[in-house]
Symmetry: D2
Subunit: 305 residues, 4 copies
């Protein structure tokens, strides 16, 4: 087995003090308060070996990384019908763009841009009695971790400045692809974005995408193997907005970023790795996180290609 601890330590040290040209996300006031020197990495392998370094056990706002979790639960509950509500194509546009919805008649290009994740939240609300509690519970059972929680502060902060997301939700509703009340959908969406986890926790909760035999705390599969693979496929083509191609090209793993500065990447049958560094490049993805993962897959030759 590869000496992951040695490899991540080396890259961590290489990158810790480089000139980080990224900028911390400031459109959500609460995120702008985070110390931007945080830098943590954690790997969990499918045989449950753990390797961490830096701020890997500090909580951070996982933001859009939670879009994988809402998608997973919606896919479980709705099955293949889900894809009538949201497509699986890369958008070629920024994460919060409204452009394509107009010609696509309210069907978002994929579940990992804001428009798509809002539709996924709408699907969940139609299924769940208490969406916020039920979804949190799903996450806790999935990760065998009762400590997971939303940050109330971040959730409120998202709400107070979420004009673009309110616009998206109303726009989609004008096409009939939001079934529930806008306020309810957005409130739920903002909470899902406000989930907080450590690098360690993130790399544990997404093990179900790496390990074909994964079962949750209750001993159940979360998705069929085929469904899990399909989520990996969408992650690869759509996980980094209009930088998805670049991530596939440089890193070569399915993955997802959040504006909190976290990135999770999955090597099927091998491991799940999480990097957290708050400063973002121009496309909204962690500057140092992208660099770390590129060096990591190069040194470990762990691309899926």
């Amino acid at each position: 087995m590869k000496n992951y601890q040695k490899i991540i330590t080396k890259i961590y040290n290489d990158l810790k003090n480089i000139d980080d040209t990224g900028k911390i996300a400031n459109y959500i006031p609460e995120l702008a308060n985070v110390d931007d020197t945080n830098f943590g990495i954690h790997i969990t392998t499918i045989d449950r070996n753990f390797f961490g370094i830096g701020d890997s056990k500090k909580k951070f706002s996982i933001q859009s990384i939670s879009k994988i979790l809402t998608l997973t639960l919606a896919y479980q509950l709705e099955g293949e019908k889900l894809w009538k509500r949201v497509d699986v194509e890369p958008s070629g546009n920024p994460f919060n763009s409204l452009l394509q919805l107009e010609s696509d008649l309210g069907i978002p290009r994929n579940p990992f841009i804001n428009a798509g994740a809002i539709v996924v939240c709408d699907v969940l609300i139609s299924h769940l009695k208490n969406p916020k509690e039920d979804f949190l519970n799903f996450c806790r059972i999935l990760s065998k971790n009762p400590d997971l929680n939303y940050s109330e502060k971040v959730a409120q902060s998202e709400k107070s400045s979420g004009y673009r997301n309110i616009a998206l939700c109303n726009f989609i509703k004008s096409f009939g692809n939001i079934k529930n009340d806008i306020d309810v959908v957005l409130d739920f969406y903002f909470y899902t974005c406000a989930l907080e986890m450590t690098c360690k926790e993130v790399s544990e909760i997404f093990l179900f995408l790496a390990d074909d035999n994964f079962t949750n705390q209750e001993g159940n599969r979360v998705l069929t193997m085929s469904q899990a693979k399909r989520i990996n496929a969408i992650l690869l083509t759509c996980g980094f907005y209009d930088e998805s191609g670049e991530f596939a090209f440089r890193v070569g793993l399915p993955g997802k970023s959040g504006v909190g500065g976290g990135i999770v990447a999955i090597h099927p049958d091998e491991f799940c790795i999480t990097v957290w560094s708050p400063k973002l490049n121009k496309k909204g993805n962690s500057y140092k996180g992208m660099l770390f993962l590129e060096q990591f897959t190069t040194e470990t030759e762990s691309s899926i290609f």
Copy 2:
């Protein structure tokens, strides 16, 4: 080892007589003359086992599948500088769209849409003394197959109706991203699209993307391992125009289609598979070819995810 012959035979028989709702490409007159009942499959594994069925040894026009070959040679000659001329992002638009070039200032989104492949041809012309001969020679040495050739008829047919491609080339030149004469660039581009191969030949020529130890007829590597992986990554995110996400989702392999009805797909470290069936779905990809590969990767569990 899996019994590929049995599996492809079964799926071939399942699909041979289904109602094919696709339409043969008719915008290139010469392609419209092809018998649309052709249906062939060929697999070549990295340890050089071969499995074929149907019309797997008939020549067909590989069309856009040749974009992988021009890219490969340009990458070999130009190295990473190549990516200043063409990006690696999915476009979210049809194969011959001019839309994004206007805001992207003449840098095509990726080398697998027409705009990108035309820029790649321009790069090759700047490097090669006799572009058409030299490129054909590269293909023959790559596949250890002296029989490969262009179809003169198809090349002429492309020229006579290639207004959209002429528009693309001039549009890009207006931004300065074509360095050579338009007529020379387009003539070369039309010839590369007019390469003819059998399913067997296609699955042999792309072995270098599946086999890390591949060498050509002269005993040389074609690309570094990292470069080969990167081409696979671009194939996965961009190989099927605005249906790339769907192909990744359903099939889960890097691949490329052509309007001649061919599709090639690569399973790194395993095999290269080619399907040919001329009738195309609305996105311009072989209707039966897509179905075949979906069933094939499902039955063999050979997705990279």
Copy 3:
């Protein structure tokens, strides 16, 4: 002087029973309840001669025609600074499109598409103590007509189905070009759309755009002559959404339509004419209204060109 009564009577009779291929607006429930056989015309000349026929004294929902009134008051209060908040260019897109706002960074193309009128309402709210009352009062004094009023039913109906407008308003706010609370802005906007007038009342209230010497009930000019001419110019280039060119081409007068089926047109120094017929063509403009005005300006040779 031309015999307007004879001319409008003739055209009215010609068109009354033609096959009207238009469709009544149904996206605002309350509008769908209107009798679609209504057909009225009224002309007021600048020397205060009146000519009417058909349902010219029935109230109808003037809808987007009110955008001229909100613009006029905002222009009066804000002066030329107004044009920093909204441009004066035709959009080349449908009335409720969000597309251009993304590249134009939240500055609507003109005040006669929904996006622009919403920004104008925001400007008014910043100036007025009681926006709804003050604006209504402005309209009454402008037209010397104390009977003007909003339809509460229509205003409520707009609200209940105004997702696209809510999206527009939030989208613009995300760029910082809405200063007040979204709810307040939209409530005011929906009320302005719900103004009810007869053809006669409409052709009276817009006399200030035809008559250089116009004064309101209090004896005041509403705008300078130059400002009034500028509003006419914007009406000509932008009054009919993506059919503005067609209206200028066929009718040749500045004008504005509403989805209630009304159209007002102004001949500077001559008259103001209003036509009402509820069924709309595909671009959202009154089918019969367009036909009427084309025949009218042809027979009277009253184009401004």
Copy 4:
């Protein structure tokens, strides 16, 4: 009658030495050689009074102003069928944009953007035996001026750098809306752009758009009155690309600009005015020309609104 000579002299002197922030067109090499301090104005009234100042009798390249002339002849030859080939709507986009053609399936938005003028040239070629000679002859007879001619140098210069126009023409042909050979169409189009006239000659040749009783050298009407008015309408909504609304707003007359720095404006029943100053604003319209016309219509109160 107004003292036009005094008024234009005053404004000419006011503007002659202002800081001109415009830039001379440099994408056509030959145009970049023009002395950018040229500044001329000429008015011709419908009763044939003449007023000129500055460089009003120097020849300049009228460029896109010639689009009115090609349209006029095509309208004369083709009648209302012409509008099946080209629309009359403002585009909301730059003069050489390809964007809308894709969704509009090859029908240009209007005859005053390059795409539309190229289609108009194609229509003319289908009607004329010797397009270049016949069109030049039409212009000479229209203006009673045998001296009009093309600049061979400019025509060649356009050709050598006209990639964007070649792209447009091929793109439109791919939709079937160009009927003749691309080379023939573009050669003719480039020549029409290369017409040279003085301010005086321009304001004479367009008198037919101001004077309802105009006849050419052979005593014939050029268009019906209704057709001439329609051309004025299209000029008002589309004559200045994506600055058309601004020109209508500031100047209030139908008009057309060219990248040679000329602008012609028409006051129906009054006069035709031409201004020439080579430095262009960001939208491609003469910086000083726009200023001159704004001041001129303000001082003479000659807006059509």
